[in-house]
Amino acid sequence: MSTPHPLAIARRQVDGATLLVIEDHSLPIVRFVVTLCPGTLADPVGQSGLTRTLMELTLRGTEARDRYVFNAALEELGSHLSSAASMEIALYRGISLKRHLPQTLALLSEAMATPALAPDEIEGLLEEMIEGLKGDRDDDDTVAELFLRKALYRNTLLARSPQGEVPELARLTRDALKQAHQSRFVKSGLVLALAGDITPDEATALTRELLAPLPTEAAIPKLVPTRPESAPLEILVVDKPERTQVQLRVGLHGLPGHHPDVMALWLGSMAFGGTFTSPLTHEVRDVRGWSYTAHAGFDRLSRLPAPMVLRTAPASHDAVACLALELELLQGLGERGLGPETIDFARSYVLNRYPLEIATATDLLMGALRYELLGRPPEAVFEVPALVSAQSVGQVNQVLAAHLGQAHRTVVMVGTASELLGPLKERFPTAKVASVDFREGLGL
C-alpha cells in the first residue's frame, strides 16, 4: 500500500453550501475557489454569455461602492480575485495574503450578494466582451477550439461558446441579468474550496460570513444537453488568408466523468497521444517533423461527455497528409487497440506522475473540487492510482473500440481554404468537406 497523502481534505457543510479545506501553513497565503453549478449551460436559449457576463459584472461594483472603490479596496490588499465560466461551472478564484483573507472574502461576499449591475457597466462590459471575441479570431489556436466546439455539438446547447455568441450578447438586458443573479446566487448551490494557511474552523467561520447575505433557495435544475446524431467524417476548413500553417483538430465524442469506462478511456488516450513517446506524438513529430505540438487529450473529470481531441499544427503543405496519418492512427486504435507495452508504459507514466499532480495544497485544490462537483467524495482524488492500476490491457482496448471505434471524427482545420479544399476532397472523397470564413458568427 502506498503511504497516506500528507495533506488532508476537510469537507464540511456550511449553511447549505459545501466547503473543502486543505491546510498548508508553509507560507502566509490562501487560495480560494467559489463555484456555482452549472455554468454557461444554464444560459437560456438566445442568451448565451449570460452567466459569463453576470460573473464579471458582480466584480464591477456593488450597491455600496462603485467599481473603482471596490477594486481599490481589493487591490490595496494585494489580493487577486477573478471570475470565469465554462459550460459546467462558473467560478470565482482568488489568492490573498493570510492577514488580508477576511477582508478579501468580505469583498467577494458583497460582490456576490449585492452587485450593482449598473447599466453603464453592463453596456461597457458587453462592448468589451464583443471586442474580445473579435480579438480571439486573431489567434488561430483559439479559432480552432471555437469551431471544433461548434462542429462537434452542432445545434445543441453545448455548441455555444461559454463567452457567448456576439449577436446574443448584444441583446442581453439588465432584467435578464438580474433574474439570473436571483436564481443563481444562492447558498445551496455553492461549493467553496480553500487551500493554504488556514484551518477548517477558520474557513468555516469565514464561509459563514461570506454566505450570510445570500438567500438559501435551491439552485436551478441541471440541464442535460443531447449529443448530436453521428455522421461520417466531417471536415470543416476555417478559412483564413495567407496562412503557412494549419491548426488541426480531430475531435471524437467521449464520455462524462461518472461513466464506468472513463478511466480506461483516459488511460487509452494517454497511451495513444498523451506523452512525448506516445504513438501519435512519435509518428507526427519525431518521425516526420510535421508539427511542434502533437497531442491527444481527454478530460476524465467532466460532468458532461468530454471529447477526445487530437491537436497538431502542421505546415500548410503537410496538413492533409498529417490529417490522413492521424485518421489512420485513430482507425488502428479502434480496430486493433494498443499493444500491452504501450498501455503499460502509459500506466507507469500516470502512476509515477500522478502523485506530483496532487503534491501540494494548491495542486490538490482543483482536483478535490472537481471530484466534489462530479458528485464523488473529494477524497476520490487519492484513488486514481488504484483505479489506473486496475485497468487491464484488454479492458482499455475494449473501451477504445467501443467508444472510439465507430465514433464519428470531426475535423477542424484553420488555414487557407484555397490551398486545402482541393487536396482534402481528393484525399477523402467520401468525407463531407465544408468551409467557413474565420469571422463567421461575429455579425461582421
Binding site: 500528507p6 508553509s26 507560507l27 502566509p28 497565503i29 466584480l59 464591477r60 467599481r67 473603482y68 477594486n71 481599490a72 481589493l74 487591490e75 490595496e76 494585494g78 489580493s79 487577486h80 490573498s96 495574503l97 488580508h100 461597457g124 468589451e128 471586442e131 474580445g132 473579435k134 480579438g135 479570431r137 486573431d138 489567434d139 488561430d140 495567407e242 496562412r243 503557412t244 500553417q245 506523452t275 512525448f276 513517446t277 513529430r285 518521425v287 516526420r288 517533423g289 510535421w290 508539427s291 511542434y292 499544427a313 508504459f345 507507469s348 507514466y349 509515477n352 506522475r353 500522478y354 502523485p355 506530483l356 503534491a359 501540494t360 494548491t362 495542486d363 469571422r439 461575429l442 461582421l444
Partner: protein, 451 residues
C-alpha cells in the same frame, strides 16, 4: 533543517560527500529564508555550481540544469542556434541513444521541459523524490552535458519541428510577429534584436557542424548550474552529483562582450499588416537590466500601471476611453538592458495613434508620483507574488537557477522584497522620467490586412 543549513553543517556535508565521491566539493554559501526554506551553493573542481534547496513539504524533486548561453551568444547571421540546440539535447548520446531520455523520464512520471531565451537555456525535470530517480537524472544530465551525438536524419526532422514552432509562434501569430519586429526595431546593435527562435532564413540554412561547435563551446560544467530542490538529503545529493559530474572537464569559455546598445535619441515607429480583426499596439522602452536598482523601481511602477482592473493603463484605455479590450505590461528580466513593453489589444474601430497617445500620457503622469494607496497595492502585490513563487519545489528551482546562472547569486530569489524597500517617491519618479521618454520609445502597430 535550519541547523543543516548552517555554514558549519554544510561544510561538513561537503566534506562527507567529498570523501564518498572522491571529488573535492567546496561549500560556498547558504541562505536561510525561513525555518523551513533555504538554499546553499557548492562547487565542483570543474567549476560546476550546485544549488541545493531541501524542501520537505512534498515528496517531490525539482531538478534543473542551467547554461549561461542564449540567443545573445549567437552569430547574428545564424540565429536560432541556442534554441534549436535545446531541442536536439533530447535526442541522444553514445550512452543513451535516441529516444531513451524521453522514454526513461516518462516511465518515471517526470514532467520534463526546457526553455531558451536571450541570456540562458535550461532543462527541467520534476518527479518523485527518490534516490533512484535522482541518480538516473544525474546520469542522463551529466552524460548529455558533453556527450550529445547528432545524426543527419534526426537533425533534419527536428529542424522541421522547430520551423513549425516558428510558424506557430511568429509567422502565423500576429502578436508574435509584432513582438519580433519590435525587438528588431528597438535594438540596433545588441543581439537582443535577433529572435531566439531564429529567423526563417537562418533556420533554413542551419548547419549541423555549426550547431555542434556551438554546443562544444558553451555546454561545459564551468558554464552551468545544477539546481536540486525538494525532498532531498544534502549529503546524498552532493555525493551523487559529484560522482556524476565530477569527471567532466572544464572548458575554456569564450570571453563574451556584447555590443552596447546606444542610447536611443529619437522615437521609432512602424506599422505592419496582418490577418487581424482588431489592432495591436506595442510601446517598448529601453529599460534597466534586471540587477539594476532601477529595475526594482520599475517593478513597483508596473504593479500600479498594469495589475488589476484599477491599474492606470487598464482604467484609462479599457474602462474610461473604450480604446482597448485589454492592456498588459511586461518588464523583461534581461541581464543587459531590456525593454518595458506595453501591449494593447485595441478595439476594432480604435485609432492606434489615440492609443499611443493615451498610454504615453499615463506614463508621463507617473513622474508626478504614486498615491499612498498605489504604493500599498504594489507592496502587498509584490509580497504575494514572492510567496506564490515559493509555493513548491519547482517554483523555487527556476528562480534559484535563473539568478545563479545569470548573476552568480541564487539568494537574490529570497531577497526580492528587500530590493523594493526604501524606494522613495523621487526614485520612482526619476526612473519613470528616464525610461518613459518619447525618444526612448519604439512603437509597433499591427493593423488589419487590406485596409
Amino acid at each position: 533543517m535550519s541547523s543543516l543549513l548552517s555554514a558549519h553543517a554544510l561544510t561538513e556535508a561537503a566534506a562527507s560527500a567529498s570523501r564518498d565521491s572522491h571529488v573535492a566539493i567546496q561549500f560556498e554559501h547558504s541562505f536561510q529564508y525561513n525555518p523551513s526554506l533555504g538554499a546553499s551553493r557548492f562547487r565542483l573542481p570543474n567549476g560546476l555550481r550546485l544549488v541545493l534547496m531541501p524542501d520537505h513539504r512534498a515528496s517531490v524533486l525539482a531538478y534543473q540544469t542551467w547554461f549561461k548561453v542564449g540567443s545573445r551568444d549567437e552569430d547574428p547571421n545564424a540565429t536560432g542556434m541556442a534554441h534549436f540546440l535545446e531541442h536536439l539535447m533530447f535526442k541522444g548520446t553514445a550512452k543513451h541513444p535516441l529516444g531513451e531520455l524521453d522514454r526513461e523520464m516518462e516511465r518515471r512520471g517526470a514532467q520534463t521541459n526546457a526553455a531558451t531565451w536571450v541570456d540562458w537555456t535550461f532543462y527541467t525535470q520534476t518527479l518523485a523524490a527518490t534516490r533512484d530517480n535522482l541518480q538516473t537524472l544525474i546520469d542522463f544530465e551529466a552524460d548529455r552535458m558533453i556527450g550529445l551525438q547528432l545524426d543527419a536524419k534526426t537533425f533534419a526532422s527536428e529542424l522541421e519541428v522547430v520551423k513549425n514552432e516558428r510558424r506557430m509562434s511568429v509567422d502565423n501569430s500576429p502578436s508574435g510577429a509584432l513582438s519580433e519586429a519590435v525587438y528588431r526595431t528597438a535594438y540596433t546593435v545588441h543581439p537582443y534584436r535577433s529572435p531566439t527562435i531564429g529567423s526563417a532564413a537562418h533556420l533554413e540554412a542551419m548547419q549541423r557542424e555549426r550547431v555542434e561547435a556551438f554546443y562544444k563551446t558553451f555546454y561545459a560544467p564551468n558554464n552551468a548550474v545544477v539546481v536540486a530542490a525538494g525532498a532531498i538529503d544534502v549529503v546524498e545529493t552532493l555525493t551523487l552529483l559529484a560522482q556524476g559530474y565530477g569527471k567532466l572537464e572544464a572548458q575554456t569559455l569564450p570571453v563574451r562582450a556584447y555590443p552596447v546598445e546606444p542610447r536611443q535619441i529619437a522615437s521609432r515607429q512602424f506599422t505592419r499588416r496582418d490577418q487581424v480583426l482588431t489592432p495591436i499596439v506595442v510601446l517598448a522602452f529601453h529599460a534597466p537590466p534586471q540587477l539594476s536598482p532601477d529595475f526594482a523601481a520599475l517593478e513597483i511602477v508596473s504593479e500600479v500601471l498594469a495589475v488589476g482592473d484599477n491599474a492606470r493603463l487598464y482604467r484609462r484605455l479599457v474602462t474610461d476611453e473604450g480604446l482597448a479590450s485589454d492592456v498588459s505590461a511586461v518588464l523583461v528580466p534581461f541581464a543587459d538592458p531590456g525593454l518595458y513593453e506595453v501591449v494593447v489589444s485595441g478595439r476594432e474601430e480604435a485609432d492606434p495613434e489615440a492609443i499611443v497617445a493615451a498610454v504615453q500620457d499615463e506614463l508621463n503622469k507617473l513622474a508626478q508620483g504614486l498615491t499612498q494607496s498605489e504604493r500599498q497595492k504594489a507592496a502587498n502585490g509584490l509580497e504575494l507574488s514572492l510567496y506564490d513563487g515559493l509555493k513548491d519545489a519547482e517554483g523555487c528551482a527556476e528562480p534559484l537557477g535563473h539568478y545563479e546562472a545569470n548573476y552568480g547569486d541564487y539568494s537574490l530569489m529570497f531577497t526580492a522584497l528587500g530590493r523594493y524597500e526604501g524606494k522613495t517617491a523621487e526614485d520612482l519618479a526619476r526612473v519613470c522620467r528616464e525610461v518613459f521618454r518619447v525618444e526612448n520609445r519604439t512603437v509597433g502597430i499591427t493593423l488589419k490586412a487590406g485596409e
